[in-house]
Amino acid sequence: MELTHMLHELSTQVVGFIYPNEIEIQWSILIVVYPYITGLVAGAFILASLVKVFNVKELQPTYRLAMLTALAFMLIAPLPLQLHLGRPERSFEMFLTPHPSSAMAMFGFVYLWYLMVVLLLEIWFEYRRDMIVWSGEATGPKKWLLKGLSLFSTDISEKAVAFDKKTVKVITIIGIPSAFLLHGYVGFIFGSIKANPWWSSVMMPVVFLFSAIVSGIAMVMLLYMIVVPLRGAKIDMKCLDKIASFLFYAVIVDFSIEVLDFIHRLYESEESIKILSQLVSTKLFMSLVVLQVLLGMLVPLGVMAVIKIFRLQEELRKLLYFISAVLIQLGIFSTRWNVVIGGQLFSKSFRGLTTYKMELTGIEGLLVALVLLIVPFVILSLLMKLLPPWKKEELVSQ
């Protein structure tokens, strides 16, 4: 059997001693993809909330884009979880009879709440007036689709639109702690496992949350820089600089928290320090030291600091922002990898390390993971076609 063959191969690559049942990595790349995706959802939403709740006017051009991005990724979020289950046909049990002491059981509620009450509701109120107007201009199936989506409402008076705006603000206020819950509970899933010293930490939900904010902001920034020129319009540099500013501060906070955790571990030097040091310096060197810290945080931090200090030219700024945002995405994905896979690479006996052999094909393979990462962008492009984030007059032509 293929699995047997793979396990025999793995057993030759074990370093030291592992409990015999630990040879197989239980949570694969799909479980790396899930927190990455929900992180983008939460992060994009937080960026959007900066506009509506904290009245950062410069970010207005990214508001709708951020909301649609959050929705596109949110729709895909349950898939990696579903595909990784041993018995996916039984997943409904988690929604019908969740076991209340389990953090994972919260998924059903948190997901449903966030999707229905926060994301969909806010997008509906935000787009309602425009949907009614567009349905008047459109013909054929698109007309009926828009009418149906707007629940056949017709009132676009000033009073109604003012009510919509107010509701959006209220939902955003509710949405901020909801976003914290959506991604924070994932951090708690790991942070509450006392058996695993790499995961078990008070800071885990906080680290997850802040790296989510970083990745979400960077993703919206990237999308903004790609989509706007594609529509033949000019990028609003004030907006872009503001996003970069928030991104800069978010990365500083995220980095500080991670450094704090690192220093704390080294200083306390608990029983697991030997095997964890071995883990970081051998198996996780490339993904943690190089990808997550150096390329994913320090280089973007340095680049954005240089931009702030030296007030570089617009074109150079755009290029550097783009590179930073891409590096940050790689860095945050590595962060998820280092937490999920890293936590399973060392034995709970603290005496050995195993290896993760990621398959290429197969339901938990690299190809499936890549598809899951690409599909949200496809969904986003469809959403943007149906519900354009910018009106023609908002976009300045190049």
């Binding site: 015999p20 630990e22 018995r87 002491s101 953090a103 006392k194 058996a195 006996s349």
Partner: protein
Amino acid sequence: MDRRNFLKHLGLVISSGGIAGGISADAWAKIINKDYDTAKHFYGMGVDVDKCIGCGRCMQACKTENSVPDLPFYYRTWVERYIIKTDKSILVKTITMNNSDEPSDVSAERDMLRSFFVPKLCNQCDHPPCVQVCPVGATFKTEDGVILVDAKRCIGCRYCIQACPYGARYLHPETRVADKCTFCYHRLVKGLLPACVEVCPTQARIFGDMKSIASPLGRFTRMHKIHVLKPALNTDPKVYYANLDGEVN
């Protein structure tokens, strides 16, 4: 007594009892066997590390009794060999069931400070982290102190496998649900010993009912200083080790 006949007919009793629906909370316990009351038992296991000879009969018996896949990657119970050398270095490995490693390695003893075998299995914790994290409640604690997995309910999310500090759980490659030692629960309800205890040649494994007045485990816990694995994690394991070396974790 016709113990053979009794065993044959027991299956009928159990399945007919199980069909009755609408079972109330306390009545369910009695249905397992009309003579077996879960409230009257509380199981634990004792392990005397000094007695284990690392023969692997327990590992083999467990696989036979519980249809565990016959591969070296899935164990409900296993035995670890520790070699602590005079230079303080420590070598640990899981033994094979057929003596295929180091048959008569006399040279191994030259710089040995201490060396021994440690049987490991699910500790049937009284405060089990695996039960706490199961999102659907498929793994649960019975009244008689055994942690079971409902193979028809488990969704295979593997959270319990991550939460177990002892590496006692694995995902069954065929049924794709979580699996682990059950103290041979199907034997306990019939008054038999778990398979590993049954075949151990040196009585390194002692099985007992802590609610019974006279049980081998009772004497075991009286005559030995007892240690459990990873006590700092507060899982309240019910596998009690005597003569356990501090290097075992």
